[in-house]
Amino acid sequence: MDNRYPYRKGFLMFQSEYKIQSITQLNPTTYSLVLECAELAAESWCGRFVNIRCGEKPLRRPISISEIDKENGTITLVFEVRGEGTEWLSTRRAGEKLDVLGPLGNGFFPDSAKRAIFIGGGIGCPPMLGAAQEYGENAEAILGFRSAAQIILLDKFKACCQSVDVTTNDGSFGVRGFVTDVLADKLSENKDCVVYACGPMPMLKGVAQMCAQNDVQCFVSLEQRMGCGVGACLVCACKTHEADGEHMRHVCKNGPVFDAKEVDFGG
């Protein structure tokens, strides 16, 4: 049943304890953590994620791989404190070990010869970074935040992308408004591109609609509450409308990146 989104067999996954090389605070609630995990980094590519054991919590927490440094055998995770699990994660220290399962998911399959627009909303920005780095000159980024205080990774995006637009809801930095405002301008100028987006559901829905109206291919990275993270428990369901009908796909196995025109944003 999963033939549309084949899970790449043969790729390795690991569950092991890896050393935290560094942990840095990016804004009042967001942290960047570099993990020494050569074997895991070797199997990673942008858009994939790892599942992290947080103290005594029964469920691991899924966090996207933001940057990959295969040479040094590290990956960078950027996460926001949302609840007890991420709170625990934010209090780890360099040198400690972290129990990590991964890499997981299909991630992006970038075709970096094409012009690509990367759209990140808040904590949806980090998963875009690795892919933008692959596209380099062909990458344009639109990053949306609530206000200036929340901005993260701007320098990193600037370092790799051709252009970076920032929007804030309150206008405290960049364009006042939403990422879709900037996207509309860009698409009205040139529709020859692919759009990648990650962020809150309303944003993804807006981006997907705009792309559909403009006949632009769009991939969205979805979040869903997870159990196993590997495709075995079927809890992370996402309804899709595909050519052959309705399906219940799974964010951890078939995603987290989906073709936006197939995603049922209602379900």
Partner: protein, 303 residues
């Protein structure tokens, strides 16, 4: 190295550790992490006659030392199972248990019929699902209905039949006895305890299905008590599960009377749990001078 082999209804298990239905897919995902032929057995994802989409997301919530799930039996249907999933397990040297469910007795019977002649070693019948004909209460909650469905399904099954009991009942021993009376070759327990969680900001249940099944360490004491009560009532083998997260829990289950154990939710926390349980059990038996795992089954000494 103690002798870890157990025999349940004529089926030989290399060790008493089985992965629980619905938490281990059809084994292939975890096969990327370790050699799943090290397992005593695998209970496959619950399979129904027709393919099912399951419930809408969110389907999972975390609770203190436990989880709630409301997958709603998403599965490819018995034909999909036979065609795509079972073949992948054929070269795996472990006991393969098909876990079946349905909303009418006829569905169960037909599902089991389709499994005849397949490489499935055993059938585990999940009777916690709502019984449409009896007005939505589950098959598993009245002794009469448990005995009836067991008898009818047993009649068409060549493979040994395990009846999987729900803990949402007043008297588990009575239900276990009914399964035995119906001809079950073994029973497994417990399935999930029904629970709920509400998001106080949105004022909506966290699960789209409103309620879900609770599993994980939190339910272990209830599961252990029920396994003990059931094992004291029936003669057929009992498979104990519910909240096992470490080898010590498995030992408790065996002492309470289980011949084998299943590991579910703990796979999510630590994918290596089943292997760690096998190793820990082995070391425990050695340390206590026990030659075989069978020597501790039911050996709790009550006060």
């Amino acid at each position: 190295m103690a002798d870890l082999r157990v025999n349940i209804a004529g089926v030989a298990f290399k060790n008493p550790v089985i992965t629980a239905s619905g938490t281990f897919g059809f084994g292939q995902e975890y096969a990327r992490l370790y050699d799943i032929s090290k397992l005593g057995g695998i209970s496959c994802k619950g399979t129904t006659l027709e393919p099912r989409m399951g419930n809408l997301s969110p389907r999972i919530a975390e609770t203190p030392s436990g989880i709630l799930n409301s997958v709603g039996l998403q599965n490819p249907g018995v034909e999909g199972f036979l065609k795509n999933d079972l073949p992948l397990l054929e070269n795996t040297d472990t006991v393969v248990i098909a876990n079946i469910a349905g909303s009418q007795i006829e569905d169960y019977i037909e599902t089991v019929r389709r499994l005849q002649g397949s490489s499935v070693d055993m059938i585990e019948m999940n009777i916690s699902c709502p019984n449409v004909k009896e007005g939505g209460v589950s098959f598993g909650t009245s002794p009469e209905s448990v005995e009836r469905i067991t008898k009818q399904v047993k009649a068409v099954a060549e493979q040994p039949l395990i009846v999987k009991l729900t803990p949402n009942v007043t008297d588990i021993a009575e239900i276990a006895a009914a399964a035995e009376a119906g001809g079950a070759d073994a029973i497994s327990l417990i399935n999930t305890l029904t629970g709920m969680k509400i998001d106080i900001e949105t004022r909506r249940p966290l699960l789209k299905n409103n309620t879900g099944g609770m599993s994980g360490a939190a339910v272990f004491p209830v599961a252990l008590r029920m396994v003990w009560q059931a094992a004291n009532r029936v003669q057929i083998p009992v498979i104990g599960l519910g909240g096992i997260t470490k080898w010590q829990d498995a030992v408790e289950m065996l002492l309470a009377g289980a011949t084998a154990v299943q590991i579910g939710t703990a796979n999510f926390t630590d994918a290596y749990t089943p292997l760690k349980v096998i190793e820990g059990l082995d070391a425990y038996l050695d340390a206590h001078g026990e030659k075989s795992v069978m020597d501790i089954v039911g050996k709790v000494q009550v006060w």
